[in-house]
Symmetry: C2
Subunit: 286 residues, 2 copies
């Protein structure tokens, strides 16, 4: 399977996901922006705005060819000087604080005919945790993985907990999910099918949770807690996220890379008794 | 001059600055939090909240003793294994978008009796630039520097422009000011006097600008532009700021280190015609 074929599969999948999210939220406006990368290829960013459910969502596709920077992690892997990369990334910041934030990424990297790998995963960031939602999220991930390899789930779940960790806060970003990288032992077809299934499982499971929580009444205190906790999301993405930092360092399209930023965020160190109560309830899961 | 003496001078100066800012803003609530550092010493954080002028301000003092991490930049400078550091940092996020945001830092670092240096500076981040404010800011910095060394100003102004730069945006964080580091050729007394004067000049000049702009009427469009531009501040602090990254990596007190974060921030990639107009007016200065 050639890079181009994988890229086209992800491109179609991206279009599909944009449609599903748009249809799921009757008020949402979708801004589609195609873009070109300076060294070759490009992508399409779909920003979903001001929906009934989705306050801001980013559904991005990219398929780019780039030069490997000397001294970068990639440079140690190959003698060549260029890479191909294609993938989809999704971040949904819901309006209702009882609906969790979610994130997905799948990607294919190619340095040469022989050196390639797949990566990806999905994770959930609730503000007000519901035990049943979290169980559903992990169960879906487990059932998905079991279809492909009996060792996937445990490993990918641990990867996720290790990766989405704010060291300075001694806190996980959310309740996790799965995260995988450097996947290359099976065929490309195997991983293409697996990553397609990762996207499908993510969308189905997340929308199930959204539909359960989207009509729950909330007040300004709930909303403020969500805005405050979104600060952790920003801290993770700018301090630790390899995709974000790689994108910014390789002079990628800033608006697409930072489309994952929440629409509104609050930082405060003075905490009300209520905020502390909410935070303690959440921290049991982090 | 011993470390302890310098620490006490900065501590008194910190108290003074907190008083001046509190008095300048009749509605402001000040939360004072003394804290201890795990390896020795500590500090005091003053968070100024919900003022008439100051939406959120952080005025921090610290005087800490720490272990030098192997592999860190400090480790190459000395054989010993510990450092002493004391300093003041200030960030003011004003409520009125016509009042610029400002930042100051002065610090003393000691690795041994013979190896020590001073650093610091101040810089201004307007949202709606006023030519006369920016001229005043730079002129004050220039006059201050001229009292100490004829070469200071030009060098420190360039340092500032180079340091407060968002590479991924190809944009300066604000209109600059002065920035200096590794100052050790003169006596400690010389630098103590200089950094005290840096603090005084910063406070006087900033309050002069505040008083000129604080009563200017603004609407939600102006406020939204301020919240949007504050995103750049967050991006700089988490992606590039050496003080922030050093603090977080050395397990400093997170609430003090991230007290510089703005109280409310917005990110958006879809820009209105008005936002683009405001941004173009600002970008001429960045």
């Amino acid at each position: 399977m050639q890079y181009k074929e994988i890229k086209n599969i992800y491109k179609d999948l991206h279009q599909n996901v944009v449609k599903i999210f748009s249809k799921s939220d009757r008020n949402a406006r979708v801004n589609l922006t195609p873009w070109n990368y300076k060294n070759g290829g490009g992508g399409e960013s779909a920003e979903i705005m001001n929906g009934e459910v989705i306050e801001k969502g980013a559904v991005n596709f990219s398929g780019i060819t780039g030069k490997i920077l000397p001294g970068s992690a990639l440079a140690t892997k190959v003698k060549g000087s260029s890479f191909k990369a294609t993938g989809i990334s999704i971040v949904i910041h819901p309006n209702n604080p009882f609906v969790p934030c979610s994130h997905l990424n799948v990607r294919y990297f190619e340095l040469s005919k022989k050196i390639w790998w797949f990566g990806g995963g999905f994770d959930l960031t609730p503000y007000f945790p519901f035990e049943s939602d979290i169980k559903l999220w992990h169960m879906s991930a487990k059932q998905l993985c079991a279809k492909y390899d009996k060792n996937f789930y445990k490993k990918f779940k641990n990867n996720c907990d290790e990766y989405f960790y704010l060291k300075h806060r001694k806190e996980r970003r959310g309740v996790g999910g799965i995260f995988f990288d450097n996947m290359k032992l099976e065929s490309k077809d195997f991983y293409v099918n697996f990553t397609k299934d990762v996207v499908k499982t993510y969308v189905d499971t997340y929308l199930e949770i959204v539909n359960k929580r989207k009509s729950k009444k909330f007040n300004q205190n709930h909303k403020d807690f969500q805005l405050y906790r979104r600060g952790r999301y920003v801290e993770f993405n700018l301090l630790y996220d390899r995709g974000t930092l790689f994108g910014l360092q390789s002079s990628g399209r800033v608006d697409s890379i930072l489309m994952s930023m929440p629409p509104v965020v609050k930082w405060s160190t003075k905490k009300s008794a209520l905020l502390i109560k909410y935070e303690n309830a959440l921290k049991k899961y982090l």
